[in-house]
């Protein structure tokens, strides 16, 4: 693990978060989901974020995944301030530089596995045949080379999450942000998915940010943070 630490320490800063706050209006009540987060993430890291429900984990992931912007503080992604970026910039970043993986897999139910991967490439100027080729290639890499034309409803949870991983990788992202990727999977499938994700990170392809309460997942991480009440309660670098 020293090797990993050494590797990431020298790498460029991917994210810089300063005093990040995020408030929501939940009905009439205002919910303070994040109460001042300062965090740096370097390229190539595997960061695990733990914490109970409602600790602000998912909110933090949304900010990191450029799905949302903070109500206070700044989120810099490769030097670019996401908190001030426009809709178009955020869309581009989501499309080309960040892959997001959901706990519920979030596949389009009407599309086959291959099509689910391909639609991620739709906003880019990529030909249909290239899209299909790349989708098939990615699905083979996640072990679903035989199931290209299966609808999500005909795939197991683990297989669906593999399709989601393939989709996240479609546009060669620098970061994969995964929100409890194994939360809906049994132990065996969870291990398979985790191996896949960690393998991607350790191969140096991507930076991996995973929210989880699975200690097994956290064990893979180069750095762990624990969230509580919208704050980082514990910050540990795995030695």
């Amino acid at each position: 693990m020293n090797e990993t630490t050494a590797k990431t320490e020298g790498a460029a800063l991917l994210y810089e978060l300063h005093g990040v706050e995020r408030r929501y209006l939940k009905g009439a009540a205002e919910v303070m989901a994040l109460r001042g987060i300062d965090l740096d993430i370097r390229a190539g890291e595997l960061l695990s974020i733990e914490g109970p429900s409602g600790s602000g984990k998912s909110t933090l992931l949304q900010l990191l995944g450029a799905l949302d912007t903070p109500t206070a503080g700044t989120v810099h992604f490769e030097g670019q301030d996401l908190s001030r970026a426009g809709e178009k910039t955020l869309t581009e970043i989501r499309s080309e530089r960040i892959g997001f993986i959901f706990q519920q897999f979030n596949l389009i139910p009407t599309l086959s596995a291959a099509d689910n991967v391909a639609i991620a490439m739709a906003p880019r100027h990529v030909s249909k045949s290239t899209q299909r080729e790349r989708a098939a290639d990615l699905l083979s890499r996640v072990g679903l080379g035989e199931r290209l034309d299966h609808l999500p409803s005909r795939l197991s949870g683990g297989e669906q999450q593999r399709v989601a991983i393939a989709r996240a990788l479609a546009n060669h992202p620098e970061v994969i942000v995964a929100d409890e990727p194994t939360g809906n999977l049994d132990t065996k499938n969870a291990a398979g998915v985790m191996d896949l994700l960690v393998g991607l990170q350790s191969a140096g392809d991507v930076t991996l940010i995973i929210a989880t309460h699975d200690p097994e997942v956290a064990r893979h991480a180069s750095r762990q943070i624990r969230m509580r009440d919208g704050r980082i309660a514990k910050h540990a670098t795995v030695a």
């Binding site: 998912s58 949304q62 995944g65 799905l67 949302d68 809709e87 178009k88 955020l90 869309t91 581009e92 989501r94 499309s95 080309e96 892959g99 997001f100 959901f102 519920q104 979030n106 389009i108 139910p109 009407t110 599309l111 099509d115 639609i119 991620a120 739709a122 906003p123 609808l151 989709r167 996240a168 479609a170 546009n171 929100d179």
Partner: protein, 595 residues
């Protein structure tokens, strides 16, 4: 810019939603096409009802009717411009004719009222010739039949107007017509007079001669004294006057003899001479029967245009080269009265041969009997006068312009186009037409709006169910615009399906209307020769003509295109609502837990 594969799979795999939305649009489109088809069919039916007019080639009819009191609403109102006719008191004459002494064509504005009054006076005058001079029909007891011809509400005018109309640009031909109301009176000439004998009585008259003067009294006294028979009253009693004298009596004969001459004869008997006085009975008691019908005069040389044409002769033939004693009879009138081609009718002492039976136009002026124009002019004492000009224009698209030009050329004319006559079609066809136009239009709009609303609501609901899917698309890098376009494309796709199904539904609706539609009735009243102003008459038997037409729904390419367009518009509207809803979804909604 949209993912076609995704679109197709979305529509196919969510087929129930696709189908329900598309069927909603299709039902709307189909019904609207049905309504439009029916409306179109009714228009066609009306055109069919009016088609005889177009086959005659009469595009414009110029007449002169009494200006209505409130004439401003009518474009063809004679009062729109007072004409020389206001100066012409007799027989509704002088109408727009420069020949009849109408030197000034324009008039002061205050002549408008005069015009109406003049019109009405002329009309009454023309129609009053009907008041029969029974004395001219022969001695009492003579059976008579006499036909009177009056212009009804269509005032006659000099036939020079025909040439005036013919000169208007765009007029191909102008043909005269004279449509009259005929009243046949038959009966026995009544006793118009009786005699009374007076006189022969002996009358006693009492006279009162002037009192005696003093000189006369002295004379009388002297006379009596001379006779010695009577002692006169004391002198100075002159105030008693003449009344004091005894009236009669032989005893006083001397007195009597002494009276002045005028007193000698003041009693006399008068015998009134006997006289026989002839009285005119007012009103005479008659057994006269009246029957009305309508007649028209046509120019026999105008075979293909005018009130009737050679095409409309259904039996017999057109007028021959000697038309003076020939008539054509309306088939309806002929069948009512048992008249056949070839027979002879006696009218006012002349015999007319029925050379043929005609079925005249449904519109325009329908008459029972058609005469040679010259004959009718002579019979009805309307020499060189007509009351209609039937105009054919060179280009049918010009009808309105030519009508306006004629109106300008002949102020005071009532210029009717075939189109304006169409508005006079009554009966269930007209009712259905107006129903289709008003209620049908509103219904079509309501149906379409309902279909659009249903499609929009279904799309909104679909978007609401797909919040996470849409959020996911946004999260994996789809822009807001791309998501909206995709949603729009889906609903437009549904609209296309709706259009296809809707056209099929529309064809079905129209087919059902054709199969089960009712039969409609069209009645045209023509120009109403015998209308209200002269109540002596009833409506002529043939003045209005009815026709039965099967209700049809006629589809044409425009209606099909409108239906298709409506379905697509419905898709776009639904997509707009759905897209608007989707555009408000944040990428983070991909993480929303929908349970």
């Amino acid at each position: 810019m949209i993912s076609v594969g995704y679109l197709g799979k979305e529509l196919r795999r969510r087929w129930s939603r696709t189908l329900v939305t598309a069927l909603g649009l299709a039902a709307g489109v189909g019904l609207v096409m049905g309504i439009m088809g029916v409306s179109n069919g009714l228009t066609a039916a009306q055109n069919q009802a009016l088609s005889p007019l177009s086959t005659v080639g009469t595009d414009v009819i110029v007449t002169r009717t009494v200006a209505p009191a409130s004439a401003s609403s009518s474009t063809a109102s004679p009062s729109a411009s007072p004409s020389a006719s206001t100066r012409q008191p007799q027989g509704g004459g002088g109408f727009f004719g420069p020949g009849a002494g109408g030197s000034s064509r324009g008039g002061a504005a205050n002549q408008i009222n005069d015009l109406n009054a003049t019109d009405q006076a002329a009309l009454l005058n023309a129609n009053s010739s009907i008041l029969t001079d029974l004395s001219k029909l022969g001695p009492a007891g003579t059976a008579f039949t006499h036909d009177f011809f009056v212009p009804g509400t269509l005032i006659t005018f000099p036939d020079a107007a025909v040439q005036d109309v013919a000169k208007v640009e765009g007029v191909q031909s102008a043909v005269p017509g004279l449509s009259l109301q005929a009243l046949r009176e038959s009966g026995t000439v009544p006793a118009l007079t009786d005699t009374v004998t007076t006189g022969g009585q002996t009358l006693t008259a009492v006279a009162r001669p002037a009192p005696l003067t003093d000189a006369e009294q002295a004379q009388v006294r002297a006379c009596i004294q001379a006779s010695g028979e009577f002692t006169p009253p004391a002198p100075g009693s002159g105030t008693r006057g003449s009344g004091g004298f005894p009236r009669t009596g032989g005893a006083n004969s001397a007195f009597t003899k002494c009276l002045p001459e005028r007193y000698q004869q003041y009693e006399a008997q008068v015998v009134v001479p006997e006289q026989t006085i002839t009285r005119i009975l007012n009103p005479p008691q008659t057994d006269t029967q009246s029957k009305t019908y309508t007649v028209a005069g046509v120019n026999p040389s105008d075979k293909t245009t005018g009130l009737i044409t050679v095409d409309q002769v259904v039996s017999g033939s057109w007028f021959t080269s000697k038309p003076a004693n020939e008539i054509l009879v309306n088939t309806a009138y002929a069948s009512t009265n048992g008249i056949k081609a070839g027979q002879t009718l006696a009218i006012n002492g002349s015999n007319y041969t029925v050379v043929g039976l005609v079925t005249p136009t449904l519109t325009g002026n329908i008459s029972d009997i058609y005469f040679d124009l010259n004959t009718l002019q002579a019979v009805s004492t309307n020499a060189n006068r007509v009351n209609e000009v039937l105009v054919k224009v060179t280009k049918s698209s010009n009808v309105d312009a030519v009508a306006a030009a004629i109106q300008k050329q002949l102020p005071g004319a009532q210029v009717l186009t075939a189109k304006s006559l169409a508005n006079q079609v009554t009966g269930s066809l007209a009712n259905a037409q107006s129903l289709a136009n008003t209620l049908g239009g509103a219904l079509a709009i309501i149906i379409l709006l309902a279909a659009f609303l249903i499609a929009a609501l279904l799309t909104m609901s679909s978007v609401a169910k797909r919040v996470r899917e849409i959020g996911t698309l946004r999260a994996i890098g789809w822009s807001r615009g791309r998501v909206v376009r995709q949603i729009m494309a889906e609903t437009v796709g549904i609209g296309i399906i709706g259009a296809v199904v809707g056209v099929v539904v529309g064809l079905g609706v129209c087919g059902a209307v054709d199969a089960f539609g009712p039969t409609l009735n069209a009645t045209t009243s023509g120009l109403n020769v015998g209308a209200s102003t002269v109540n002596l008459f009833h409506q002529s038997s043939a003045a209005s003509v009815s026709q039965n037409i099967h209700m049809q729904a006629l589809l044409n390419p425009q209606i099909v295109l409108i239906g298709i367009a409506a379905a697509l518009v419905g898709g776009v509207i639904a997509g707009t609502f759905g897209g608007w809803r989707a555009s408000r979804l944040a990428p983070a909604s991909a993480l929303r837990d929908l349970g």
